[in-house]
Amino acid sequence: MLEAIDLVKRFGAVEALRGVSFRVEPGEILGYLGPNGAGKSTTVKLFTGLQRPSGGTARVGGFDIVQQPLQAKRLLGLVPETGALFEALTPLEYLRFVGGLYELEPKPCERRARELLEYLVLDPGAWNRRMTGFSKGMKQRVVIAAAVLHAPQVMLFDEPLNGLDVEATVRVKALIADAAARGATILYCSHLLDVVERICSRIVILAAGRIQVDGKLSEILARFPGATLETVFQRLTGAAPELAPAARQEGSP
């Protein structure tokens, strides 16, 4: 279970989150949407203990991330937007290291690491190569494997499909759906509305640090007759439809 209770985050005079509250139940995939700077990544950072809230509470599996960080973090898996990892290591070295941080038994950890890399279609020839020269998609596969290696009960995905090819994208979506089916709680941040529409059971749209709407896709669309998720998003976030720059140059005065 993941719970935000009146979350506030300030950076000096700038208020990135202004009293955000929601709850994600086990087995649920919450699509967390918003334009750039809306506060999505800040929310993720508050849930993972990477930042301390200026107000309110963030709970992971019932544990307050500030008061009981270790208990909360043991339940967490994160795919950060940055896709950061120690590139000087090989994928297997990195996953063994992550397993060591969760004190997993070496043999089962090795077996699961290999299974995940295989599932995420990372060429076995690359498993023992340093990641310095890897493409973005190859690194992203390792980041995802490292996030789910310890079978976390709560997973936070911040643009997890960045750089992935079609096959890997399909498999990651299946992995997320499978984890939810097994009772994991999932927060999924993305700008790809069609993906969110397909895999999320509930959607929250955030703008300027506030929740604009929270509900199932069908409920949201019912409130805006004739609208699509895209137009609802544009309306709620104040992003007026406009011509793309290229179109302006070619067709407009």
Binding site: L70, A84, F86
Partner: protein, 545 residues
């Protein structure tokens, strides 16, 4: 415990493999580390054959340990950006269930391993010096020296860790990085003062036969020096002082572990988060008419668009890259501080005046400070050029390889021009103006700086021709900054000879001026050579076809 070892093992592996391959199976980080160790070993050799080796045993070991402690602390502070503040750590590690204490100890152990290797390289020659100077129990004294050196290194690491974590907890999160930068600048100046001031200090105090001053016992390095000195039967050595030192170290370590460790991870994360949010907070509306020195500087870049792009590029880095400023600020302060010291110590003495040529009315130390400061420009030039090679944003250098430029040399000349106008020229003026005010003779002041500036130009051009590096296109490596500093300090050895030569030739100002002009012209020729090399940099070839 397994978390601790996992963190330490990975930190050391990442250190070793950084920067990609250099040659064969050796990585760039390993090569840079090897060169640093060699330079440290040479530096230890210079120490062990200098004035320190003439001191009595206890004072000698104390001095070696103090110098090594200062150098190690500087090295650790200089590397703190990679060791303690690596932004990658946040997304990779800090959301994992790792306790603040575990993370803290993993980082401290990492520092300690690093510091021990550097200390070993620095103290190899002093160890030989100490062991060779005693007649009995050489093995025991050698072992005691190694043990005491380890404790001394632990003390140096502890000081750095306490300073760093105390700063983390006491300074506002938004200002933490700036405070750290200034701490490093101060530390760099301490290194400089220690390096330049040691011999004159020992000469002035004439400690060869005197007992160790009482105040020297307050220096932590001296506490541990009592161990090998007592075994070497030094009359002043006291077991009690060594024991007390050990006690202070243990108490300090326990206090640090209790007070600093638990909140370490969260404090660090908040400091990094606050730093990341700073551009957002500081981006307020700006007046369009606001005066900016960089606008004046850019106007001096000329109309060539490539050169201007290079000029803008460097100035933008100087404004926005704290690491670059950090690597250059202490270096810029060097000649200004040292020249000021020379002017004060000599009481405004003009070495080129007829009176001073007839009679020497100033100490050798003051004279050498005055001449040495001018020649520091050569070391400064080397350091500046080396600092341009790497950047944390090195990945953005793809633009150099992707842009279809045929005149990269013009871009580079723009970068160098900005470095010259933005950094080197103001520093030269900061030295020149006090000289003018003190000597009341512009010709003498210009003559004083002409030859060093000419050689600095030549140095930059030759370095550029030998090792042309695309600006800010290399991944910064561990030890890189201390390596540059050490290289700059070692450059001072031959430069010292040139300073003495200039002092000897001060009766011939025209000759010195001509020498400066010729060195400058040779530098201009070398720049032409460097420009042709820059046009054929291997990575640019695909775009030349």
């Amino acid at each position: 415990m397994s978390q601790l070892w996992a963190l330490l093992r990975v930190a050391l592996t990442v250190d070793r493999r950084g920067g990609g391959p250099f040659r064969g199976r050796i990585s760039r980080a390993e090569f840079a580390f090897g060169v640093t160790l060699f330079l440290y070993f040479c530096f230890g050799g210079v120490l062990a054959t200098g004035a320190v080796s003439e001191l009595p045993l206890l004072l000698r070991i104390s001095t070696y340990f103090t110098l090594v402690g200062v150098f190690v602390a500087f090295n650790l502070l200089a590397a703190s950006q990679q060791l303690l503040l690596a932004p990658t750590d946040i997304d990779v590690l800090y959301w994992r269930p790792i306790g603040g204490r575990t993370l803290f100890f993993a980082r401290v152990l990492h520092l300690l391993v690093d510091a021990c290797v550097l200390s070993a390289a620095l103290l190899a020659a002093p160890l030989v010096d100490v062991v060779a100077s005693v007649e009995r129990g050489r093995v025991a004294i050698g072992l005691a020296f190694v043990g005491a050196a380890f404790l001394n290194t632990v003390a140096a690491v502890s000081v750095v860790v306490v300073a760093y974590t105390a700063l983390l907890r006491s300074v506002s999160r938004e200002r933490f990085h700036d405070a750290l930068v200034w701490l490093q600048v101060v530390m760099a100046l301490v290194v400089l003062v220690v390096y330049l001031g040691l011999d004159p200090l020992l000469e002035a105090l004439d400690l060869r036969a005197a007992p160790m001053p009482r105040w020297a016992q307050l220096v932590p390095a001296a506490w541990f020096a009592h161990l090998p000195a007592a075994l070497g039967a030094a009359p002043e050595a006291r077991w009690a002082v060594f024991g007390a030192g050990l006690g202070v170290l243990a108490v300090g370590a326990v206090a640090a572990a209790r007070m600093l460790a638990p909140q370490y991870a969260m404090d660090l994360v908040e400091a990094l988060a606050a730093d990341a949010a700073r551009p957002l907070l500081e981006a307020g509306p700006r007046s369009g008419r606001r005066f900016s020195w960089s606008q004046v500087l850019v106007a001096g870049a000329g109309r060539d668009p490539m050169r201007r792009a290079g000029f803008d590029f460097f100035l933008a880095h100087l404004r926005g890259d704290r690491r670059l400023r950090l690597s250059l600020l202490p270096a810029l302060a060097m000649p200004v501080v040292y020249s000021g010291f020379g002017l004060l110590a000599s009481g405004g003495w003009d070495p080129y005046s007829n009176e001073s040529l007839a009679t020497t009315s100033v100490s050798r130390r003051a004279a050498m400070a005055l001449f040495g400061a001018a020649w520091l420009f050569v070391a400064l030039a080397v350091l500046t050029l080396r600092s341009l090679a790497s950047s944390p944003a090195w990945r953005a250098a793809w633009i150099f390889f992707a842009a279809p430029t045929r005149r990269f040399d013009a871009f580079y000349v723009g970068v160098l021009g900005a470095a010259f106008y933005g950094l080197l020229l103001p520093t030269v003026l900061s030295v020149l103006v006090p000289l003018l005010l003190a000597w009341h003779d512009p010709v003498h002041a210009v003559v004083h700086l002409a030859l060093p500036c000419g050689f600095a130009t030549l140095g930059i051009a030759l370095l550029l021709a030998v090792d042309p590096a695309i600006p800010f296109a290399r991944e910064p490596l561990r030890h890189e900054r201390s390596f540059h500093w050490l290289a700059a300090l070692l450059v001072l050895v031959p430069v010292g000879i040139l300073a003495r030569l200039q002092y000897a030739l001060r009766a011939h100002p025209l000759l010195l001026l001509l020498g400066g002009v010729l060195a400058g012209l040779a530098g201009a020729l070398a720049v032409r050579l460097a420009r042709s090399r820059l046009q054929t940099l291997p990575l640019l070839r695909p775009f030349e076809d």
